[in-house]
Symmetry: C2
Amino acid sequence: MNQFVNKQVMITGGLGFIGSNLARTLVAQGSVVTLVDSLIPKYGGNLFNIDDIRDKVTVNIYDVRDQIAMADLLPGKDYLFNLAGQTSHMDSMIDPQTDLAINTMAQLSILEVCRKVNPGIKIVFASTRQLYGKPDYLPVDEKHPIRPVDVNGINKLAGEWYHLLYNNVYGMRACALRLTNTYGPGMRVKDARQTFLGIWIRRLIEGRPIQVFGDGLQLRDFNYVDDCIDALLRAGASDATNGKVYNLGSTEVLDLKSLAEMMADLNGDGAYELVPFPADYKAIDIGDYYSDFSLIMNELGWQPKIGLRDGLQRTMAYYRAHYRHYWDTST
Amino acid sequence: MNQFVNKQVMITGGLGFIGSNLARTLVAQGSVVTLVDSLIPKYGGNLFNIDDIRDKVTVNIYDVRDQIAMADLLPGKDYLFNLAGQTSHMDSMIDPQTDLAINTMAQLSILEVCRKVNPGIKIVFASTRQLYGKPDYLPVDEKHPIRPVDVNGINKLAGEWYHLLYNNVYGMRACALRLTNTYGPGMRVKDARQTFLGIWIRRLIEGRPIQVFGDGLQLRDFNYVDDCIDALLRAGASDATNGKVYNLGSTEVLDLKSLAEMMADLNGDGAYELVPFPADYKAIDIGDYYSDFSLIMNELGWQPKIGLRDGLQRTMAYYRAHYRHYWDTST
């Protein structure tokens, strides 16, 4: 989009899955792109994600919890795509304070820095459908009650609402997208910390069966990363989004067993197995989920364009070519 | 109530307004009471609040942010009334990270300590009507959308939800009461940090007019502290409350101008004046608010017993007798 030409754009979590794909698109559109990423091994950052644009972006290996670094980097930026986050629901239960520090405290300090040194910046925050918890009704729209079922959901909620609050109280410009399962090249596939799709792809490539928890009948919706990037850019480009929250989603809703079948099929000779739901996963599972994304469709003209089968095919082709950069194949 | 006889009861914020009144009641009921309070001057703690029960309770001057102290104090306790908090909406905007540390981070660490060393404890958390933000409808029931308008509201929300989450996921027993304006002997009256009623009382006693912001037509409900204590004890005594949230409230709903008139009248020769709404207060004002408290009425048989005029009279009599212990009269 024209709005981003020659603009200073900062992306937190910029070496991660969505951040690196967004960076690639922005570089192609002529933005001056600054990436911030902690590269903490448990999270999504991976330098290989920007291998093809390495000389076209500025990379800062900083943690969003580092207030001094944030105060250093934020002045002069036109846009902030605020994507850094701890994404693992399980990790948020095991180490809730770290999740709080990243998903809540750091968000507040980023906003405070912006308020003090760069109140004109436009911020797009990557939020999550996890805030809704177990849905009361489907598809879930933005009016659905908020009822997180894990620490990550609570902390992301607070992080999201700081953004809206700073918009409302200080006249800064911030909005949030509540992402659903996003997949595509660049996602963490080493384990299930970012998405279960990651570990599914790894297992397929390693010739092991996908493990589907429970009966596999839980419904989910999925967005290919390019569609997610399109939504982020539309949200960033429009001032009509200020102070608002939008669901992403897809009309292709699938149960996990069918998804596993599709992926096994796409892989050629893949397999899947149903395994009992681990108790600690079950305790924070949200059951069926898919979202109503008509708000962003109506207001910003966004809708997903990449079908699930097509997107999964592209994703698996990417990891078959590059998996050595995503997990340690020597172990 | 019988449930608390000989029980080990810990109260965070125990030297504060509500905590100290709760302590007095529990001592009278035969509980073994441990008070934890940071006595930070900006907050509600005041040793004079427990002057009459000083030798009947154990006092620990610790901050709830001090995880080591919490791990030391929580084992063996039967009940935790978790009342410590940063209450000033304005302060939460000026220093949001401190509000976050107390109202969110410390709550999470208290719950983590309980999960690890005392998962059988019953916890009652003091939450706030501030979570609802500007009401969509009145009276506000617990199903009303959550939409905090200041940092304090967001942080208290996260603190509240950690309690419910730990109840739901770990089978610990925790509930929350969403308090409305609570008033009575022991509240902070030095300034408006705890409640605007505090500074109103101080001004009356000092012979200065009460200052009412704006047109004074904002509606509010009020609970005398004894009624609030009654609700806390009922919530603590019942396992039907586990994982639940209850509004407190009152059927006596009054606009602030009428309240100022009532207080000026009760004072004998008091006065009030309407002053323009300071911009920073206006930005986070919630407009009219009063709550529907039928849930706690139906489930726990609670309802407020002390009328507003009676409660205010008792409160003002207390401060006329003891104001020297609540602000520095030499300045």
